[in-house]
């Protein structure tokens, strides 16, 4: 393993979508970004700022119009073929005809892992997400939060060193969301994976991230990168949500998003 290579390296990447009658939309314009191994980076910005597009480019679900993109020093396409990353979307996207176990082991089964190996890995992951009792359940028997946890377990199935997450908690209620954030901090600490996390929730980005990348739309580009680093996983619990440092981080990200200073950290809406 070469730890010097960044988990994700984005250099001068642009993505233009061709519209009808020659009209085109610039979703991303000359974006530069580097994510270190084990680092948690959030992409935040209003709708249309290209944060999901950037994630899809890293995942090689889309190709840049210009610029260079590498994952662990390889082209994005090679990294995808080599299964160097795991991914979770806003929709859990579980296969409704498979059980929780069947869903988690899907990538393992597709890549030819043996039955006993799959079962062992699934039981580890079920323990990690706290759903051991639900191994034989079908997705329609689970709540939204449970489904999303299964999707995260599926993303972690092959122990990737990079986790790509596109608003994975976007469809969840606030209480479930905070609990899932706590779990994600713990899971990241256990797996040591780098994470690129797309969100439009400021507190979520501040709570989870080492760095928050602020983006703006039309054309989509990075306007600011804010270091938050609120400490190791041990300190990141619910008490952090009421900590002065957390509020300061929220205020900083908010200022960067709106482009104007917000008077004081008090009265910060933590939604």
């Amino acid at each position: 393993m070469n730890d010097i290579k960044p988990a994700v390296e984005v250099r001068a990447v642009s993505r233009t979508f061709g519209g009808r009658k020659g009209a085109s939309v610039t979703a991303l314009e000359s974006v530069d970004l580097s994510v270190a191994p084990g680092e948690f980076v959030s992409l935040i910005g209003p709708s249309g700022c290209g944060k999901s597009t950037l994630l899809r480019l890293i995942a090689d679900l889309d190709t840049p119009t210009s610029g260079e993109l590498s994952v662990f020093g390889k082209p994005a396409r090679q990294a995808r073929v080599d299964q160097d990353y795991g991914i979770a979307f806003q929709q859990a996207g579980l296969l409704p005809w498979k059980t929780v176990t069947g869903n988690i082991e899907l990538p393992l089964a597709l890549h030819g892992a043996g039955r006993s190996e799959r079962r062992a890995r699934v039981s580890e992951l079920l323990e990690l997400i706290g759903l051991t009792d639900f191994a034989g359940h079908y997705p329609d028997q689970l709540s939204g939060g449970m489904q999303q946890r299964v999707a995260i377990a599926r993303a972690l199935a092959e122990s990737p060193k990079l986790l790509l997450m596109d608003e994975p908690f976007g469809a969840l209620d606030e209480m479930t969301r905070e609990r899932m954030q706590n779990e994600l901090v713990r899971i990241c600490a256990e797996t040591q994976a780098a994470v690129v996390f797309v969100t439009h929730s400021i507190p979520e980005a501040v709570f989870l991230s080492d760095r928050v990348v602020v983006m703006s739309p039309r054309p989509g580009r990075i306007t600011d990168v804010i270091d938050v680093s609120l400490g190791g996983p041990a300190e990141r619990d619910d008490s952090l949500r009421e900590d002065e440092a957390f509020f300061r981080g929220v205020a900083k990200v908010r200022e960067a998003l709106h482009g104007v200073p917000v008077a004081g950290a008090r009265g910060v809406d933590t939604r």
Partner: protein, 267 residues
């Protein structure tokens, strides 16, 4: 929390409405039979014009063996036609799903098959395959089945959700793996809907095909020969057999469909 219990349709849970869904149709059916009996008896209508339900019931009990044999004979033709037609329809749809050009090529043929009264082919097929064989009837049933199965399966194959498509790409899955892991299971409920529609069509086609010739013994032949000898109560008794046979096919297809779609309520 409700996450551990399987979802049960509210209709089945509400006691009052369940009572109504079962009892109300039975009451209506009994009333209709009573009215039928009353009108025929009351106005002294001749048995050869309209037989009473009790006449028909006597014929059913007297000829139960023959009705059952006829149902088995017709049912077997329908079943063979259903299986063959379903295989052709599903395979055709998979090919059309993979190669769009195939869909374009066969679209006019499918449209022609959909509007053609397939039983009208029966006399031609009897000449081709021999009037002493069941083959013609099985082909008629199979052809009738192909269209609804093909159309429904093809539609199902195109319902793959974008998030599942993305996942398969992320996993660098081969075309074959994608078919097996996502595309075919996504299509499954649609295939079963097609089969449910086709199951009734198979019975109707196999039975009507008997009107145009071929060996005796099936329900269709028995209906025509009873009617030809003016034994209308007996003809009705065979019609009753045909209704039961059609229901058996339909309910079996429905049961299979419900079993395979039991976890599809939420994505």
């Amino acid at each position: 929390m409700s996450a551990t219990t399987a979802t049960i349709p509210e209709r089945a849970l509400a006691r009052g409405s369940a009572y109504r869904t079962v009892v109300a149709p039975i009451v209506l059916g009994v009333a209709m039979l009573g009215l039928w009996q009353g009108v025929v008896d009351g106005f002294g209508i001749e048995q050869y014009i309209v037989p009473t339900p009790t006449d028909i019931w006597h014929e059913i009990t007297d000829n139960l063996g023959s009705i059952v044999d006829g149902s088995v004979s017709t049912g077997l033709n329908a079943l063979i036609g259903l299986v063959v037609g379903a295989l052709v329809g599903i395979l055709g749809a998979i090919i059309a799903g993979v190669w769009r050009i195939f869909d374009t090529i066969v679209a006019p043929l499918v449209a022609a098959l959909a509007v053609m009264p397939i039983v009208a082919l029966a006399p031609v097929l009897y000449t081709m395959y021999g009037a002493d064989k069941e083959t013609a009837r099985q082909i008629v049933a199979a052809v009738a089945v192909i269209v609804p199965v093909y159309i429904n399966t093809l539609r199902g194959l195109r319902q793959v959700r974008p998030v599942h498509r993305d996942l398969m790409r992320v996993y660098a899955a081969s075309a074959r793996q994608q078919q097996l892991a996502v595309t075919l299971p996504t299509a499954a409920p649609y295939v079963f809907t097609g089969l449910r529609v086709a199951s009734s069509l198979a019975v109707i086609s196999a039975l009507i095909a008997e009107y145009f010739g071929g060996p005796i013994g099936g329900l269709g032949k028995s209906i025509t020969s009873s009617a030809a000898s003016s034994n209308y109560a007996l003809a009705w008794a065979y019609v009753f057999g045909a209704i039961v046979l059609g229901l058996v096919f339909y309910c079996a297809a429905l049961a299979v469909e419900m079993f395979f779609t039991r976890h599809r309520s939420t994505p």
